[in-house]
């Protein structure tokens, strides 16, 4: 992160993502929360772009902001009493505890793991054109088994969803 442009972008996008995430649990209306979640997803996609992870950024937009947000909206819509005031839920203390636990875990991982860092000039030296080839090679090369397992899992989820909503044949 050498240039000022990327620094400004980092702070702006981080502010957007964190602000949207905070707004998710501060807002009273569940659908508003979903909108802020979409905003957080887009902020994260921007952060991926600052790291030169082009494929990940676009996939983030396509999968999360494009499809999973629709899923969330459907889920909220089909939930009874989704528009009620969610501020006085009985699960609030439990939620706070779980959130703190997650924050501790992620903080530990972020600070203690030795993340390899490549700066822009390193990437230029390697004639780095994009992440697509690398990811593709990894998915179908070294990580082929998890990839196939993930697709089988998705197929199982698809079949299960259809089985759940199927009407009985009269």
């Amino acid at each position: 992160m050498t240039s000022i442009g990327i620094t400004i972008a980092f702070y702006a996008l981080s502010g957007l993502s964190i602000g949207a995430a905070v707004a998710v649990f501060l807002t009273r209306n569940l659908l508003h929360a979903v909108i802020f979640v979409i905003l957080a997803f887009i902020g994260m996609a921007g952060l991926f772009v600052t790291l030169s992870a082009d494929f990940l950024a676009v996939s983030q937009v396509m999968i999360y902001a494009g499809a999973i947000s629709v899923l969330l909206v459907f889920a909220v819509m089909l939930t009874p009493y989704a528009s009620r005031d969610n501020g006085n839920s009985l699960f609030a203390p439990v939620g706070v505890l779980v959130g703190l636990g997650f924050a501790a875990l992620i903080g530990f991982v972020a600070t203690q793991v030795a993340w390899p860092v490549f700066s822009g000039s390193d990437l230029e030296a390697q004639n780095f054109t994009g992440t697509v080839r690398t990811i593709g090679g990894a998915l179908l090369g070294g990580y082929a088994l998890p990839f196939e397992l993930a697709s089988v899992l998705l197929l199982a989820a698809l079949v299960g969803a259809i089985a759940l909503v199927r009407e009985d044949e009269r």
């Binding site: 442009g5 909108i35 676009v58 996939s59 937009v61 629709v70 909206v73 054109t129």
Partner: protein, 471 residues
């Protein structure tokens, strides 16, 4: 025939003046073409900043000049802002203004074009009252919509009600980024351009759903759910059709895809026609245009997800729908019709003019489909996507992947390779489409058109049974 039966005649402009003007225009055109041809052939245009065939060359010269200016800035500024900030800023702003003005202009003109075209297909004239040939109609529409009262339905969530027009407009603007107008004229030439396009067009889905949900209206919700179901179903064939393009061209960058087509003198439309059909048809579903416009099937659910939207909010939905139609035409041009290349003529004709002509042709086909075909029912649409298009697209992609691998392994001359690929693909398309349709139960011979039987004997139930037994 008496005058009472003739349609109302309108007066044509004076014939003589029109003849003189058109003669003058033809002479000017021929002279201009000759001049341009001379300039191009003598090579005095290549690489100069005044090469009007490709505005990107001029921009590159501007960027270089700005970098030189940048090098003479004080060191402190250069350490803070970097070595290229002037050129980045200037090219970004100019490109942004270019795209904004283009999209804005297109959105205004499109309303006129669409209405006149559809009217001509329907044996009528279209708007011709406001301004010459009705050209001020879009302006009048915009002013009318702006000055309308802002109606928010009771029980609608205000925040969620105001959001969808904005959410739908942003992707409509962003998709124009990667479009390559000429060899050096692509504003946002991403390495993952194809994926970017699919991602941005999937953002419209959630906006439409929120529009329907927040309107507090049964029609709107019905329309929104239909739309979402249809859009997410057709995103799959859309993406998979583009995979074949990416496989053949070897890159997801739009300018690379167009360059591949220019180098090989082969348009993707000839090589993978099934992908063209799938992409086009899925795009009409993504755009909510006939024959896939059940989302706003006027005869059934009034206006679908934008029933409750009035004024400029509705104007935005409508304009963005038309703008997206032109964007889809632009993608079809870039992916399948060779973009700015025209088998070598792009040396003489500016690339962006070739591109714009193809986009206009693609848009014309979209309007033609809208004016001609009735619409499908939702379950027929979904069945078509899931049971017919997706399996064939998967098989087709596998076939193209095999062909690309074979082309990489063998090193035959280009025309033999591509010719074989084209023939194999066309044969595959025709054969598989027919067999699969038959497998799914499409029996045209049993569903043939049955003309009514003609009879002169009247009768009741027994006569009916006799007639049915006789057929």
């Amino acid at each position: 025939m008496s005058a009472a039966l003739d349609p109302i005649r309108t007066r044509r402009p004076q014939g003589d003046l029109a003849l003189v003007v058109s003669l003058f225009a033809v002479i000017l055109l021929i002279g201009g073409a000759a001049g341009v041809g001379y300039l191009v052939l003598s090579g005095s245009l290549d690489g100069r900043w005044y090469d009007f065939r490709d505005l990107g060359v001029g921009m590159a010269h501007l960027a270089e000049w700005l970098d030189e200016q940048n090098a003479s800035q004080p060191a402190a500024t250069r350490a803070l802002l970097g070595d290229h900030w002037m050129s980045y800023l200037t090219t970004a702003v100019i490109g942004g203004i270019g795209i904004l003005s283009f999209v804005g202009g297109v959105l205004l003109i499109l309303i006129w074009v669409e209405r006149r075209l559809i009217a001509r297909i329907q044996v009528r004239r279209g708007p011709n009252r406001l301004g010459p040939y009705g050209l001020l109609q879009p302006l009048a529409d915009a002013i009318k919509l702006i000055q309308k009262e802002v109606l928010i339905p009771e029980g609608a969530d205000r925040f969620l009600f105001f959001l969808p027009p904005i959410l739908v407009f942003i992707p409509g603007l962003l998709v124009w980024g990667p479009v390559p107008w000429a060899p050096n004229m692509a504003y946002l030439d991403l390495n993952v351009g194809v994926l970017y396009l699919i991602a941005i067009s999937s953002l419209a889905t959630v906006a439409i759903f929120i529009a329907g949900w927040s309107s507090n209206n049964h029609y709107a919700l019905l329309g929104a759910m239909r739309t979402v179901a249809m859009m997410i179903s057709y995103e799959i064939p859309l993406g998979m059709a583009l995979i074949s393009v990416v496989l053949l061209a070897g890159s997801m960058q739009l300018s690379e895809i167009v360059r591949w087509q220019a180098q090989h003198y082969a348009w993707m439309a000839f090589l993978i026609p099934f992908s063209l059909f799938t992409f086009f048809f899925s795009s009409t579903a993504e755009l909510n245009r006939t024959p896939n416009d059940i989302a706003e099937a006027e005869s059934e659910i009034v206006a679908g997800f934008h029933t409750e939207y009035s004024g400029m909010k509705f104007g935005l939905f409508y304009a963005v729908e038309l703008g997206n139609a032109v964007a889809v035409a632009a993608f079809v041009t870039a992916f399948f019709l060779g973009g700015w290349s025209l088998f070598g003529l792009e040396a003489f004709i500016p690339g962006y003019i070739i591109f714009a002509t193809k986009v206009a042709a693609g848009y014309f086909v979209l309007v033609w489909l809208r004016g001609t075909l009735p619409r499908f029912r939702l379950d027929q649409l979904m069945a078509f996507a899931w049971k017919y298009l997706i399996p064939i697209t998967i098989a087709h992609t596998t076939l193209v992947a095999a062909e690309v691998t074979a082309m990489g392994a063998l090193a035959l001359p280009g025309i033999v390779e591509l010719g074989t690929v084209a023939l194999v693909n066309i044969a595959f398309t025709v054969w598989v489409m027919r067999r699969w349709a038959r497998f799914l139960g499409y029996r045209p011979e049993t569903e043939r058109v049955m003309q009514p039987k003609l009879t002169t004997q009247v009768g009741g139930l027994h006569a009916a049974e006799r007639m049915r037994g006789a057929s």
